[in-house]
Amino acid sequence: METDKSKIGSFLFNRSVQGFFYQIITLGLVALGIYYIVTNTARNMLERGLASGFHFLGVESQFDIGMTLIEYSPTSTYFDSFIVGLLNTLLVAGIGILFATIIGFTVGIMRLSSNWLIAKIAEAYVEILRNIPLLLQIFFWYFAVLRALPKPKQSLELYDSFFLNNRGLFIPDTVFGEGSSIIFYLLWITIIISIGIFIWAKRRQNRTGERFPAFYVSTALILGTFFISLAATGFPVSFEYPELKGFNFKGGVKLIPELVALTFALAMYTASFIAEVVRGGIMAVSKGQTEAAKSVGLKQNLILRLIIIPQALRVIVPPLTNQYLNLTKNSSLAAAIAYPDLVLVFAGTALMQTGQAIEIIGMVMGVYLFLSLFTSLIMNLFNRFMKVDGER
């Protein structure tokens, strides 16, 4: 009897049994909650005559979009409009991240400069840009850009091929003719070979201590192959120049002012945060490291490249990831200045025309979630790569 009771007791008080029990209960509650939300939503939508489902994705959108990276017209589907918006978001986020990183690192390093003026300029940059709401900055750049630029008929021009006016920047488009695909294959092959060279050079250096000028060799390889193949195929590349026709320029590549202003504002704003991240990261590397490097006779720029930056990066990368994610999410402020991003095109126009808020907001949230997770993944991989060998 005694033993039986204590057996049951010990079974009930067993940690893993308890844990299992609570997990089952939690799972049940979550399932119930989801069931309630789904059925209730469906009933509410039916009751209020709201359409539901994803059929609308195959229907003609009937609206036009100002900037599209793929072929698109009002007879394209809502799904196409989703892709157009998504690509526009990726474009502005991609360029924004590139510039934010360059500006951010520059300003961050400037803040640590021993030159008083340079350090103060960098400090002022950070303090001002960090403290003005981003939306205001976007408007500022947008209207500053529009106001500063002339009308199409008075465009600023360069060599009759670059034109700048308040409708955008127009540049010649490169048109690749027949036989040019081989050039691209070769380009890819040389890039892959170069990556191989880098890995091999690093391994060799770890093994023997000898350095190999991987950077120069691979640059020469890529550029050399590119130009030789261009010449060998008889330059199958031509240019299409923008031309003033009626209201505006036609032909060539067009960068709309909304894209320019938005990228500019996002990059400048995010750079002010990145600068602080970089400064913090560099300051986290102890002074002794620099002194030790100096004493073995390394030059200043090598100290920075070989000693400080690799160590600082380990501190910098996690918060930097955050800034990249912020920039991507902030790009949804695009709607304020008519840049046709995912939120404006799909969660805006398409949502208004179909009324399918749940499906559309769901898809848009899915995209941002995916982008966040994807960025984190890439940066985690990078971070692992940057770790000091012994730490792996």
Binding site: I37, N40, T41, R43, N44, M45, E47, R48, G49, L50, A51, Q62, F63, D64, I65, G66, P74, F143, L146, R147, K151, N166, R167, K245, G246, F247, N248, K250, P257, E258, S332, L333, A335, A336, I337, A338, P340, V343, L344, A347, G348, T349, L351, M352, Q353, T354, G355, A357, I358, I361
Partner: protein, 341 residues
């Protein structure tokens, strides 16, 4: 990120709210003593706030009429300014009870988005505005133009139709807020600004130099604008619909804000007597007091009073009523109210 907030709110509400909560808007409104009216963020003559935040305009007066009908007081209304994009979600989410904000009645909005239109208070159509010095005199000359307009409007679809039908190219430049459309157009971002012609007339007053612009003659669409309520609450829709009808019918029978008191005392016409709340007991069917329509006319005015006060020829908006569809059917327009009996 107000829009995101509202869309999210809409999501949460449609997920959590029990349908029954939407059943009796009229009862809820009566017991809380006011209702929420969704308006624009400022379209002169239609719904526009003054320096002290008091709203006025013909769209605002629809809400004031509803308030007068229910409470005998036109000012039991809270105004919620909304962008074109936010408006339907705000209505569905219960943030507003009536949407009176130059909203076009279309099939998809009526049948697909869970809205119910309660009538038409302005018959409009889409037009284009250009700078005078551009030398353009017809919308058919707009091939290749950059076109500024508002997100989430019928305008976006109509312009796509128009340019496609006429084999012309164009560059849409679509902003979320109306003021940004006006600013961008004023700064020269676009060759033309398109929206409802009433909207053009109203927004034009906000331009740096209104006289430097001209509205082109073409009207490319039908835009019947009117108040909207949530689908599925017929009693509430009736109150809004008949408040508007009463304003129109009062004008048809010569009952104005200034003469209503004396006319109502003297009248021998049964239609007028019903509008004056002296006969017929029209309030009962709407769950309102019998003086509902009298209160509308005396405290807000009939349709003509309201039109001339806010958008008529003697206002900055300056839309002539004679010869337009907004004239009473008695004067060759299409404004015609079903009988309030």
């Amino acid at each position: 990120m107000n829009t995101m907030r509202i869309s999210f709110l809409g999501l949460v509400c449609s997920v959590l709210m029990v349908p029954a909560a939407f059943a009796g808007t009229l009862d809820t409104v009566k017991s809380q003593g006011f209702f929420n009216c969704g308006v624009s963020q400022g379209v002169p003559g239609f719904s526009n706030p003054d320096a002290d935040g008091n709203w006025s305009g013909i769209d605002v007066d629809v809400c004031r009429a509803v308030s007068a009908a229910i409470f005998g007081d036109p000012d039991k209304v809270k105004y919620v300014p909304l962008t074109a994009k936010e408006r339907f979600t705000a209505l569905q989410a219960g943030e507003i009870d009536v949407l009176s904000r130059n909203t076009t009645w279309t099939l998809s909005r009526d049948a697909q988005i869970g809205l119910e239109f309660a009538g038409v208070n302005f018959y409009d159509g889409q037009g284009f505005m250009v700078r005078k010095d551009s030398g353009i005199t017809s919308a058919m000359e707009l091939d290749g133009a950059s076109v500024c307009t508002n997100l989430g409007t019928t305008t976006e679809l109509n312009m796509a139709d128009f340019f496609r039908a006429n084999g012309m190219a164009y560059e849409p430049v679509v902003f979320e807020k109306a003021d940004e459309v006006v600013n961008a157009y004023d700064e020269g971002r676009c060759d033309t600004y398109t929206t409802d012609k009433s909207g053009l007339a109203a927004q034009r007053t906000k331009l740096a130099d209104p006289d430097a612009h001209v509205v082109l003659p073409e009207t490319i669409s039908k835009e019947p604008l009117g108040p909207v309520v949530r689908e599925g609450d017929g009693d509430w829709a009736d109150v809004v619909r008949w408040s508007l009808n009463a304003m129109i019918e009062a004008e048809e029978f010569g009952l104005t804000q200034s003469n209503a008191k004396t006319e109502c005392a003297l009248t021998s016409n049964p239609v007028v007597a019903r509008l004056c709340g002296k006969e017929g007991g029209t309030g009962a069917g709407l769950n309102l007091g019998d003086s509902w329509s009298y209160d509308i006319v005396t405290k807000v005015g009939n349709y003509g009073d309201v039109y001339e006060k806010h958008v008529g020829e003697n206002t900055p908006v300056g839309l002539a009523r004679a010869g337009s569809p907004n004239a009473s059917y008695k004067n060759g327009g299409v404004l015609y109210a079903p009988p309030a009996r």
